[in-house]
C-alpha cells in the first residue's frame, strides 16, 4: 500500500491537429477522496477522462496510477487495474437487460476460459453463482431491484444513469471516474446521486474522480475541486476556495464589468 497519491496527472497535453484540447494539466488525486473537475463546456474535462481510460493518447505528459505509468496500457486493461468509468452520453448495452449489463461488468473477475464456458463445467457454474451474488449486492446498493430484468432500451433516462453507475461499480473498482453523473437528472434524482457518491466513498472505500456542472452537488460531495478552462488549469482547492476564485468566476460568469452591467439591467 503506497502512501503517494492514487492518481497523478503530470503536464498532460493533447493536441488534435491544431486544437489544443488539454494544455499542461497537472493534478493529484488522493486515495479515498472525491475529486471533481469543473469548467465550462469544451474545457477539456472529458478529454482528461478519456486520457485516463486510455481512449486517447496524450501528446505530451503522463499519467501515473498507483506509482505505475499508464502510458502504454491498452484500453481493455484499465478495468483490471481497478479503474472504472461512466460515460457522459450513456454507453449501456441497449439490447440486454439491466442484470446482463451488470453481469458484463464482472468480466474482469471471470474464472473461466472459452473451453470451460463451452462445456459449462461446474467451476463455471460456481463462478456464475458468485458473479450473480455480487451483482445482486450492487443492485441492492443502488435500488435497482425493480428493473433487474428490464431491457435497457426501455428504461427512462434517470434509471439508465443509475444502471451506468451500477455497471461501473460491478467491476469492483478502486478508482471510479464519473462523467457528469447528474446531467439530465431532476432534483430528487440528483439528491439520490449525492447520497450514493457519499456511500461509495464512505462504505465502499472507492476513490471518486468526477466531472460535474451542478455546483450544489459539487459542493456537497467533493473534497477537492479542480477548475479548468480551455484546456488549462484555473484553480485547485476545496469547493469553497475554487468557487470564490476570481479566475473561475470570470470563466463562468464573465468579468466584473459584465456582471455589473447585468445587475444594473436587471
Amino acid at each position: 500500500m503506497n502512501d503517494g497519491p492514487m492518481l497523478q496527472a503530470k503536464d498532460l497535453t493533447v493536441r488534435f491537429g491544431g486544437v489544443v484540447a488539454v494544455n499542461r494539466v497537472s493534478f493529484d488525486v488522493r486515495r479515498g477522496e472525491v475529486f471533481t473537475l469543473i469548467g465550462p463546456n469544451g474545457a477539456g474535462k472529458t478529454t482528461v477522462f478519456n486520457l485516463i481510460s486510455r481512449i486517447y493518447q496524450p501528446t505530451e505528459g503522463e499519467i501515473v496510477y498507483e506509482g505505475r505509468p499508464l502510458t502504454r496500457v491498452p484500453p481493455h486493461r484499465i478495468a483490471s487495474l481497478g479503474i472504472a468509468r461512466t460515460f457522459q452520453n450513456i454507453e449501456l448495452f441497449e439490447h440486454a437487460t439491466v442484470l446482463q449489463n451488470l453481469l458484463i461488468g464482472r468480466h474482469i473477475h471471470r474464472a473461466s476460459g472459452v473451453w470451460s464456458d463451452l462445456l459449462f463445467t461446474s467451476r463455471v457454474r460456481a463462478a456464475e453463482r458468485d458473479t450473480r451474488r455480487r451483482v445482486e449486492e450492487v443492485i441492492e446498493f443502488l435500488d435497482l431491484q425493480h428493473h433487474r430484468d428490464t431491457m435497457v432500451a426501455g428504461l427512462p433516462y434517470g434509471v439508465r444513469k443509475v444502471v451506468e453507475l451500477a455497471r461501473a461499480l460491478a467491476t469492483q473498482p478502486k478508482l471510479l471516474l464519473l462523467d457528469e453523473p447528474s446531467s439530465g437528472l431532476n432534483v430528487e434524482e440528483t439528491s439520490d446521486m449525492a447520497f450514493w457518491i457519499q456511500d461509495i466513498q464512505n462504505e465502499l472505500g472507492i476513490t471518486v474522480l468526477m466531472v460535474e456542472h451542478d455546483m450544489t452537488l459539487v459542493s456537497r460531495v467533493s473534497d477537492r475541486v479542480l477548475a479548468m478552462n480551455q484546456g488549462e488549469v484555473l484553480a485547485l482547492g476545496t469547493p469553497a476556495q475554487v468557487q470564490s476564485h476570481p479566475g473561475v468566476i470570470e470563466a463562468y460568469l464573465g468579468t466584473a464589468e459584465d456582471t455589473a452591467s447585468l445587475r444594473s439591467a436587471a
Binding site: 472529458t46 478519456n50 481512449i55 460515460f87 457522459q88 452520453n89 454507453e91
Partner: protein, 284 residues
C-alpha cells in the same frame, strides 16, 4: 483499354451506392439489379417501341429515376432509422424480386438479349491503336455524368442538404430539410446512374436477368475509393477494372475473377478508409 471501360462501369455502379450511402447511410445491394432493369427498359423501348436511340437513352434514365423515387417511397422510407443491416437485407430482397420478376415477363425469360446500339462493333483508329467506340462511349458518358453530379453536390442547395441529412437525420429535420423527399431524390439519382451504367454495359455483356451480379464487384470499388467519396467511387472502379484486366492478361486463369476481391482486402488492411475516405471516430 477495356479495363478502363469496365472500370468505368464498376465506378458508375459504385457511384450509385456511394450516393445513397452519403445521403442516408444506407447501403444498397440493389444497384446491380437497378442497372439490369435500366438495360431492360432500354431494350424494351428500343426494340418493342422502336424509338430512336437518343430518345431511348433519355427515356430510360427518366423512367428509372421515377422508379428509384417510387422504390424509396414504398420500400425504403418505412425503415428509416433502422440499423444498417436491415437495410442491406431489404435491398438484397429487392434484388431477388427484380431478378426473379424480370424472368417472369414472357418476352424476356432467362435468355440473353442484345441491345442494338448504333455504335456497336464500330472501331476507330486513334494514333496506331484501334479502339472500340463502345468503350469510348462508356468512358465519355461516365465523365459527363460525374461532372454533372459534381456540380450538383457542390453548388446546389439540394446537394448540401443531402450531405447534412446524411450525418444526422434528426438535426436535418429540425433545420427544415425535407429529409424524406431528399432521400427519394437520392434514390432517383442512384437509379439514373444505374440506368446509364446498364445502357453502357449492355452492348458489352448483353442483356439478361443475371446482369446485376457485376454489381457485386462495385463494392470493392467503393471501398477502395473510400465509401463516403463520390470521386473515390469512380477512381476505385477504374482501379479495379484495370487490375482485373491486367490479371486476366498476366496471371493464370481464375485470378481475374478474384482480383477485385484481393484488392479490396489489401485496401482494408492497409488503409481501411479507402483512398479518399473519411476518418471519423466516435466522441464519447
Amino acid at each position: 483499354m477495356s479495363g478502363i471501360a469496365q472500370g468505368c462501369i464498376y465506378g458508375l455502379i459504385a457511384l450509385g451506392f456511394v450516393l445513397i450511402y452519403k445521403a442516408t447511410e444506407a447501403v444498397s445491394f440493389a444497384q446491380g439489379e437497378l442497372m439490369m432493369l435500366g438495360a431492360f427498359v432500354g431494350l424494351a423501348l428500343l426494340t418493342a417501341l422502336g424509338f430512336p436511340f437518343f430518345i431511348v437513352v433519355l427515356a430510360t434514365i427518366a423512367a428509372m429515376a421515377l422508379f428509384g423515387i417510387g422504390l424509396e417511397r414504398v420500400a425504403i422510407r418505412p425503415i428509416l432509422g433502422q440499423p444498417v443491416f436491415s437495410i442491406v437485407m431489404l435491398t438484397i430482397g429487392i434484388g431477388y424480386v427484380a431478378r426473379g420478376g424480370v424472368t417472369m415477363i414472357p418476352a424476356i425469360g432467362t435468355e440473353t438479349h442484345t441491345l442494338p446500339v448504333p455504335y456497336k462493333d464500330v472501331v476507330v483508329p486513334v494514333g496506331g491503336v484501334v479502339l472500340a467506340v463502345e468503350q469510348l462511349v462508356v468512358i465519355g458518358a461516365t465523365t459527363v455524368l460525374c461532372a454533372l453530379l459534381y456540380l450538383l453536390f457542390r453548388y446546389s442547395k439540394a446537394g448540401i442538404a443531402m450531405r447534412a441529412a446524411s450525418q444526422n437525420q434528426l438535426a436535418a429535420y429540425y433545420m427544415g430539410i425535407p429529409v424524406r423527399r431528399l432521400n427519394g431524390i437520392v434514390w432517383g439519382l442512384a437509379a439514373m446512374v444505374a440506368a446509364v451504367a446498364g445502357l453502357l454495359l449492355a452492348p458489352i455483356t448483353f442483356v439478361h436477368a443475371n446482369m446485376g451480379f457485376i454489381g457485386l464487384k462495385a463494392f470493392p470499388a467503393a471501398v477502395v475509393g473510400g465509401f463516403g467519396s463520390l470521386p473515390g467511387a469512380i477512381v476505385g472502379g477504374l482501379i479495379i477494372g484495370v487490375v482485373e484486366s491486367l490479371s486476366g492478361f498476366y496471371l493464370p486463369e481464375g485470378f481475374k475473377d478474384v482480383a477485385a476481391y484481393v484488392v479490396v482486402l489489401v485496401m482494408l488492411m492497409v488503409k481501411p478508409n479507402g483512398l479518399f475516405g473519411e476518418n471519423l471516430s466516435k466522441k464519447v
